[in-house]
């Protein structure tokens, strides 16, 4: 784990990634794992669309359909969208604030492995008696009565990966508060860093209610408690509240980083300072705050009463205001800029109308009275896909193309990138636009088939063809990744030529210590400022000195693995004789390795000044 470890057989590369605490490598792990789950969730989506392409289809059975929609939603939100965004937060945020690593590199690795094992555990349900089938919201009234172990996999898998997300969020918060480079004040932070900050704060407050909800569900299903058992005094509404108290902020946890990515893309390729920077920051924080006050709008038809419905309805509509501020600021950033239409910019450009459609249907749904009509129809499906695909997935595609050179040191092919864009963009609108009308015509969501002669055939077929286009787009992206990785043409610090923020002032990929000398930040868009004054790079804020780095560690992997083992025990509790011993063994592995971590001193190591000077001569390699 130092500069001269250059042997690198295949085994040692694997070991390197299993033990790494470097935020850039963890980012790659998140990218690979999140990308894999994105493909899994995508295949599930394709199955859904095949099943619904024609009326009375029997491509999958009703039961299997329920499992597929549940796993599609759960996988896409928890195992694809979040980790992919975490990948970019990890890869870029520390560089944007001029830090050498995150605040807790060890915890960062632990967060990844918890997410990974949680995701693997959840997906093992396919092979061990059936996947969860109560929808991604897993309402207790359904989930409690679900046969088999599907829901148990859901509960335990999400619990494990949720802990990973929570500690990841704390890590980012501390990094941003404590580790900004000299001169990097809060109001000079790039918008993506701001978005990371706010969405990490949301994670901090939103995940504990999920933890509690999942724990209660676990107790009910596996340990005989009565939280959701109405005969014994339980109340299933509690699950709905806990889930949405988490679930609504979750939407903003996903979309705020997307906004951050687009903000950076817009200003970079408009070659212009972001319009209304401070109002953008304000809007981000305000969205984060309001995001906590609106959860019950998912429950208008539960019967909360007119007062509660009215309050939550108004609060929900209020979110349209800061979001509108953002939309106008992006438009005005492009206005008068010298816009360069690169692939990331294509996605950013297409994001605005797509997301606005999702926002408008959101305000429609926010009207409690009207929501009684829309509720549980395809209108809702269309709405949230417009927001999440049109917002988050577009942002992930934009960031993949935008930051690929920074992460891997080589550019994705622009021509293929634009083909991906057109296929996916057309496919996306084909798939989901008609679903608004399907919903208004009365097609309920989560039905496994529909009858001929109800007027749903044509629209469903169009929707399914759209899904094929989206799949083709993703396949082109995969080809693009393979082609560029094989060619592997190395690029310099600032491959787009228009980089504004600190990450573009250092090599691609950056050396493992990121900044040889911490940069001095003199304003918003610090690298751009220096370039405009004709300088090559950042002015250092400190003399060349020893750099303190953390040691690699295998313990994060072991801690997460212990919980993975314990989860199997909990799953079969009361059914198999080995269940309780397995729980104990798993917890012993986890707590034992935590103890080892706590008791064994780990001071990290220093890179000495002389080595850094050597690197200077021969050019940095990482």
């Amino acid at each position: 784990m130092s500069t001269y470890a250059q042997k690198k057989g295949f085994g040692s590369v694997i070991w390197d990634y299993l033990t790494t605490v470097d935020h850039k490598k963890i980012a790659i792990l998140y990218l690979i794992a999140g990308g894999f789950f994105f493909l899994v969730g995508g295949i599930e989506a394709v199955f859904i669309r095949i099943q619904l392409a024609v009326p009375n289809n029997d491509f999958v059975s009703a039961g299997a359909f329920n499992e597929i929609i549940t796993m599609h939603g759960t996988t896409m939100i928890f195992l694809a969208a979040m980790p992919l965004l975490f990948a970019f937060m990890n890869a870029v945020m520390p560089l944007q604030i001029g830090a050498r690593d995150v605040a807790f590199p060890f915890v960062n690795a632990l967060g990844f492995w918890l997410f990974f094992f949680g995701g693997v555990f959840l997906n093992l349900s396919w092979f061990l008696g059936g996947a969860p089938d109560a929808g991604w919201t897993s309402y207790a009234s359904l989930a409690i009565h679900s046969k088999g172990h599907g829901i148990d996999f859901y509960v335990l898998g999400l619990q494990i990966s949720g802990i990973g997300t929570l500690i990841g969020g704390i890590n980012f918060l501390v990094t941003i508060i404590n580790m900004r480079a000299p001169g990097m004040t809060y109001m000079r932070m790039p918008l993506f860093t701001w978005a990371t900050f706010v969405s990490s704060a949301l994670i901090l407050f939103a995940f504990p209610p999920l933890t509690v909800g999942l724990t209660l569900m676990m107790f009910d299903r596996m340990f005989g408690s009565n939280f959701f058992i109405t005969e014994n005094g339980g109340n299933t509404i509690i699950w709905e509240h806990l889930f949405w108290i988490f679930g609504h902020p979750e939407v903003y946890i996903l979309v705020l980083p997307a906004f951050g990515i687009f903000s950076d893309v817009f200003s970079t390729f408009s070659r212009k300072r972001l319009f209304g920077y401070s109002s953008m920051v304000f809007a981000t924080v305000l969205i984060g705050f309001l995001g906590f006050m609106v959860w019950a709008h998912h429950m208008f038809t539960t019967g909360l009463g007119p007062v509660a419905n009215a309050i939550f309805s108004v609060a929900t509509m209020a979110i349209g205001v800061p979001t509108g501020i953002k939309i106008f600021n992006w438009l005005l950033t492009m206005w008068g800029g010298s816009v360069k239409f690169t692939t990331p910019m294509y996605w950013a450009f297409a994001f605005i109308p797509s997301f606005v459609i999702g926002g408008v249907t959101g305000v429609m749904l926010a009207s409690a009275a009207a929501d009684y009509q829309y509720h549980d129809s395809y209108f809702v499906v269309a709405h949230f896909h417009y927001v999440i695909v049109g917002g988050v997935v577009f942002a992930v595609f934009a960031a993949t193309h935008f930051y690929w050179p920074k992460i891997f040191g080589t550019m994705l092919n622009e021509k293929l990138g634009k083909i991906t864009f057109w296929l996916f963009f057309i496919g996306f609108h084909m798939t989901f636009f008609v679903q608004h009308f399907l919903g208004l015509w009365g097609m309920p969501r989560r039905v496994f088939t529909f009858l001929p002669g109800q007027g749903f055939e044509m629209s469903n077929l169009i929707s399914s063809i759209g899904a094929a286009f989206m799949s083709a787009g993703v396949i082109v992206l995969l080809i693009n990744v393979i082609v560029t990785s094989v060619k592997n043409e190395k690029v310099g610090n600032d491959p787009w030529g228009d980089g504004r923020t600190l990450e573009w002032s250092i090599p691609s990929p950056p050396p493992f210590y990121n900044f040889k000398q911490l940069p001095l930040v003199r304003g918003l868009d610090p690298y751009w400022l220096e370039k405009m004054e004709g300088k090559k790079g950042m002015t250092p804020a400190e003399p060349l000195g020893d750099i303190h780095m953390p040691n690699a560690s295998f313990i994060p992997f072991v801690i997460a693995f212990g919980l993975f083992v314990a989860a199997f025990g909990a799953l079969y509790n009361g059914e198999k004789s080995w269940a309780v011993p397995v729980i104990i063994i798993g917890l012993l592995i986890t707590f034992g390795s935590m103890l080892v971590r706590s008791l064994k001193d780990d001071h990290g190591f220093h890179i000495h000044k002389e080595e850094l000077m050597d690197d200077n001569d021969k050019g940095v390699k990482a």
Binding site: N178, V212, S225, F227, H603
Partner: protein
């Protein structure tokens, strides 16, 4: 200032818990974690309040039948006092007096064990005298989950403080372990904060009806 440095009484900094970057990060990160824990316990309190006295039939014990004022009072005093003793421990930590810090931490652990013992007795009592079980009603599930989560925190805190004490007994204080002690004491105070709400909301309000 490096974490490994050997320090003396004279060179010991005023705020050892925040004198290196690692320590600062740990300090802040732990506070943020406590912010999240606040929401975690708020969820449990909310669930408890929603399910309080929700039982399947009239022969189940309710909150006002169960709780016992003297027992709760003793438990409260034990935990409150342990909070003060851990403050004393941190006082000696700031004065670079490792021996006295250990002594006060030891007292804290003993008080914590006393609290835990009372809790075990109490739960046992409810189960056998009142048939108020985790599985018997929604009220039972919510009660044992809320109070039990707190008890689990106490247990974890005890294990943590003990591990730190054993590990550092011989070698005394340095800037690497001082933040660890400080953070563990924050955790211990937080447990006390939660207990203040538990004795108020669960026990006292339970007895009021």
């Amino acid at each position: 200032m490096h974490a490994e440095e050997k320090l003396t009484y004279e060179t010991w900094p005023a705020e050892p818990e925040k004198s290196t970057l690692e320590a600062k990060n740990k300090f802040l990160g732990f506070w943020l974690f406590l912010g999240g824990e606040t929401v975690l316990f708020a969820s449990l309190f909310a669930t408890y309040l929603a399910l309080k006295d929700k039982v399947p039939s009239a022969d189940h014990a309710l909150a006002k039948d169960l709780f016992d004022l003297p027992l709760t009072f003793v438990a409260t005093m034990l935990l409150l006092t342990s909070s003060l003793t851990s403050v004393y421990a941190m006082y000696h930590m700031k004065n670079f007096n490792s021996q006295k810090m250990m002594l006060w931490l030891g007292i804290t652990v003993l008080l914590g064990l006393g609290f835990l013992g009372l809790e075990v007795y109490e739960f046992n009592h409810y189960v056998h005298e009142y048939h108020h079980k985790f599985t018997s009603s929604a009220f039972g599930s919510a009660f044992y989950t809320l109070v039990g989560f707190h008890g689990a925190h106490v247990t974890f805190g005890l294990g943590w403080i003990l591990a730190l004490m054993i590990r550092n007994y011989k070698r005394g204080l340095n800037l690497y372990n001082a933040p660890k002690f400080y953070v563990a004491s924050l955790y211990w105070h937080f447990i006390d904060v939660v207990w203040v709400f538990i004795f108020t909301v669960v026990y006292l309000m339970g007895m009021v009806g």
